[in-house]
């Protein structure tokens, strides 16, 4: 037995006080887990579960699919068929033995942030090209990459493409088909979760974002266990006027049925209340955290980067405001011609963004490395003079905190949750391109401004560790399940 565990706090107290007397068991439903992520959701889930586990919370985290490279030693990580991650804990007691990851299906194109339209486009983009001539951006697209790196699923590229082609050959019905598929996937997940976990012992169900809400609500009704839904973003944020009505409906369904809703910011709390009519007392804010970095590799020394780098890291979608980044750049470049603007990420707006850059004649000032993670991402964060997050509507914006942890000053839109927790950032309205350019020029010209920003923000980020988020979450668990700790 490795519990009861004790809170890592009060190191001065001789007899550590257990925060939880016996482990509370949480069934957590998610959609993605690092390293296979499309956005901040997976990163947030990893951070939160690690910190919860350090507080002695027992977690079983269920995602629709595993890719085989997930590392989650702090909890049980399985897919909806209970196949566990080789990198995670094994379930206690009697349970199915870990199975090799199946290799027969097309990987889930269903990014948690994709809607059916984007899904269709992603598939179309892959199949309409020869693989060898994939653009660098597409080569880094998680979807395309999943296809190229056949090893992920153990399938070879040709058969994957063949299968996709077959599917796409019924051209006219493609849209309908894939539109249905996204929701079919959600439905399949729901059915699997119920069949596999309805008999499980746990205290609370904790579901992350809309794709898991139907499963979570159904399971809660079946088992009578309290339900917490965790809103990392809303369809309204992601797609604005083009919000998919069915997704919005699922979000509303989930937030209304939950005992408590966790919002990642006050910004999101207000959205949940406004769009879904949830009573303010049921929506609680738990800000995301970040693990501060001990060491920052100086990539600048190793590689040849231009003197000034301004970075955008995130999905290239309506929500993230990439077009404002480009317009801002077009105002900066006449004054500082040698700045390199990096757009790291992919998304449905990437082609139009690239087109706009070309139209403005700024190709040589731009770099599109596509979706990056790991060392590549670290390199971009650390060589950037300033990180820009011009989001139109950003529930939180965890990459801004990551940038800070690399001592990179940040400029963020006022329409973001992270603006609530970081005082020492440059803050603008996402549409105020002139202001953004004004601030960025000054930040590039005056290293003192960058220095003070980074130094002060770093101090703030130290207070934003995941442990604080975990403690708040545990309070919410105990609130919905008062006897859980017995």
């Amino acid at each position: 037995m490795d519990f009861p565990k004790y809170a890592p706090y009060n190191p001065n107290t001789r007899d550590a006080v257990p925060y939880i007397r016996s482990p509370m068991k949480i069934l957590m439903l998610g959609w993605e887990y690092p390293p296979h992520i499309a956005g901040g959701l997976g990163t947030a889930c990893k951070g939160l579960t690690s910190a919860l586990s350090a507080q002695g919370v027992d977690i079983h985290f269920v995602v629709p699919q595993l890719f085989g490279r997930e590392e989650a030693r702090h909890m049980v990580l399985s897919d909806a068929s209970r196949r566990v991650s080789p990198g995670g804990q094994q379930p206690r007691g009697v349970g199915p033995a870990p199975l090799p990851i199946p290799t027969t299906r097309i990987p889930a194109f269903l990014s948690p942030y994709g809607n059916p339209r984007q899904f269709k486009e992603a598939v179309a983009a892959v199949t309409h090209r020869e693989v060898a001539s994939l653009s660098p951006a597409l080569r880094n697209d998680p979807v395309a990459r999943a296809l190229i790196d056949g090893e992920v699923y153990g399938i070879d590229l040709v058969s994957a493409l063949e299968e996709t082609e077959t599917v796409l050959s019924a051209d006219n019905v493609a849209h309908e088909r894939y539109s249905k598929d996204l929701f079919e996937e959600v439905e399949r997940f729901t059915l699997q979760v119920i069949s596999q976990f309805a008999g499980e012992t746990f205290d609370v169900i904790h579901a992350h974002d809309w794709m898991t809400f139907p499963a979570a609500v159904a399971l809660s009704e079946r088992t009578g266990k309290p339900l917490i839904v965790h809103v990392h973003s809303l369809e309204q944020d992601r797609s604005g006027l083009f919000a998919h009505p069915q997704i919005t409906e699922i979000e509303r369904f989930g937030t209304r049925h939950a005992d408590k809703v966790i919002a990642v910011s006050y910004f999101t709390k207000r959205s949940v209340e406004r769009h879904h009519g949830v009573s303010p007392s049921r929506v609680l804010v738990v800000h995301n955290g970040v693990y501060p970095r001990e060491m920052v590799t100086d990539y600048r020394e190793k590689k040849t980067w231009p003197e000034h780098v301004v970075a955008f890291v995130g999905r290239v979608t309506f929500q993230k405001g990439p077009e404002y980044f480009v317009e801002m750049a077009s105002k900066v470049i006449p004054h500082l011609p040698d700045v390199l603007f990096v757009i790291a990420g992919t998304g449905d707006m990437l082609p139009s963004i690239m087109g706009r850059v070309k139209e403005l004649g700024l190709t040589k000032n731009f770099m599109f490395p596509g979706f990056v993670q790991g060392e590549e991402l670290e390199e971009i964060f650390s060589v950037a003079d300033i990180y820009v997050m011009p989001s139109v509507s950003e529930p939180f914006g965890i990459t801004a905190l990551e940038a800070v942890s690399f001592d990179t000053p940040i400029i963020i839109s006022k329409q973001s949750g992270v603006a609530e927790v970081i005082e020492h950032a440059l803050k603008v309205d996402f549409w105020d391109v002139d202001r953004m350019a004004d601030l960025i020029i000054n930040a590039l010209v005056h290293p003192e401004l960058r220095h003070d920003l980074a130094r002060m923000a770093r101090e703030e980020v130290k207070q934003l560790h995941w442990d604080a988020a975990a403690l708040k979450t545990i309070d919410i668990y105990q609130d919905v399940s008062p006897h859980a700790a017995v």
């Binding site: 004004d438 601030l439 005056h446």
Partner: protein, 411 residues
């Protein structure tokens, strides 16, 4: 016979608007005129006019037994003249009683004392002339911006003809010594008056709504009791305050004006205490000793040093930049169309408040910095400042370049 020396700082900066990088070499509206006007009008209505009225009544009532001193910055005088002439008039009325002393400082309430000797002296003289013109008296005692002081500033004040200088009674400088005596600048005859920070801060920060039932609230009686406790162990107690304490930081409804009015009448003037102006105090009392300041002090923030204005890299960059460009303005032909405006703007940019807004301090001091700042953040303050500086420097360089070209073409 111990004395109280009341002195009030009156200052308003020219606040910058959010001048953008894209305004550089295009727009010359650097200052937020609407904001400056509304702040001046507001402070005049809430503080200058009502408090001056009370003081005038008190000065007449006590007929020479009650005295006060002001230092009014040049930028405050200018803005009063423009936005609240009746306030300036009311200060003149106070001056005419003959019981009010006006102290010297830098016209622009600047940090020139720390960065540029020539500019410092020039601004001090400019201010002295302005005070003489407005209030009919030449300042004889010097009070530097926000009580910023070190030995060198004391020396220079003496060299400029001042007989006395004011400073914060900082504990780590004073050590075992009391702030309630007159001291002397080392190696000079210039005398020093120190701020009694405990008693001054009682009024500035610890005054709360008057409630006679609350044993913690500051009443005239309680204040007089702590003052009278110093009898026999004090020559002069310096109560140096921001004038806006009366009516602005503490609104009239708190009873702060009644508190002020009651102080001499019922309390301080009993038991042999009296009021003196700074000039009278340094004439009457002999210095007990020299007092050397090993560091630069001020009355700002918990550190009582200059970190409120020079604490972070942005502030030092801005200060370095503004005081580096003085050569551009020295010896320039001020009749050139852009030059006069550029130089005047350059001088207004030296006002300490601009750097105060760039402070990134947290906690209690940070709250005070933010209370005064018209900007959303210290970074916004820095950006607007550097943009304006860039603009005026560019204009100035153009004029200089033209001047340098002209004689060559004539030959």
């Amino acid at each position: 016979m111990p004395a109280v020396c009341f002195y009030f700082q009156v200052h308003q900066p020219y606040r910058l608007r959010r001048y953008s990088y894209f305004d550089v070499e295009k727009a010359t509206t650097y200052f937020d005129e609407n904001l400056n006007r509304s702040i001046m009008e507001g402070v005049a209505t809430r503080c200058y006019l009502p408090t001056n009225e009370r003081l005038l009544r008190m000065l007449r009532e006590h007929d020479g037994a009650f005295k006060i001193a002001f230092s009014i910055s040049g930028t405050a005088i200018e803005q009063m003249r423009e936005y609240a002439p009746e306030a300036l008039e009311s200060f003149r009325a106070l001056a005419e009683t003959g019981h009010v002393e006006f102290l010297g400082e830098t016209y622009y309430h600047s940090l020139a004392s720390l960065y540029n000797r020539e500019e410092f002296e020039s601004q001090v003289l400019l201010h002295a002339e302005c005070v003489e013109r407005e209030f009919g008296q030449r300042p004889r005692v010097f009070r530097n911006t926000e009580l910023i002081y070190n030995d060198e500033i004391g020396q220079r004040a003496g060299e400029l003809g001042f007989r006395g200088v004011l400073a914060e009674g900082v504990s780590d400088v004073l050590g075992w010594r009391s702030p309630h005596f007159v001291y002397r600048v080392p190696g000079a005859t210039t005398k020093m008056l120190l701020r009694s920070f405990k008693l001054s801060d009682d009024i500035a920060f610890r005054f709360t709504h008057r409630d006679s039932n609350d044993s913690q609230s500051l009443t005239p009686d309680r204040f007089a009791t702590s003052l009278h406790a110093l009898s026999g162990n004090a020559d002069v107690v310096g109560l140096f305050l921001d004038y806006e304490t009366f009516g602005e930081h503490h609104r009239k409804e708190t009873g702060i004006l009644d508190f002020l009015e009651a102080l001499p009448r019922h309390t301080i003037l009993q038991r042999e205490w009296k009021f003196l102006t700074p000039s009278e105090a340094i004439r009457l009392f002999s210095p007990v000793s020299e007092l050397s300041f090993p560091r630069t002090t001020s009355w700002a923030d918990t550190e009582r040093d200059v970190s409120a204005w020079c604490g972070n890299m942005m502030q030092r960059a801005a200060l370095g930049e503004v005081y580096n460009t003085d050569k551009l303005y020295a010896g320039c032909d001020l009749s050139a169309p852009d030059m006069a405006l550029a130089r005047e703007t350059w001088r207004r940019l030296q006002t300490s408040d601009h750097f105060y807004y760039m402070s990134t301090k947290g906690d209690g001091d940070g709250v005070v910095h933010r209370y005064f700042s018209p900007f959303e953040s210290p970074y916004d303050a820095f950006v607007a400042y550097m943009n304006v500086l860039k603009d005026i420097n560019a204009r100035c360089r153009r004029v200089v370049a033209e001047r340098d070209r002209r004689p060559a073409s004539n030959e």
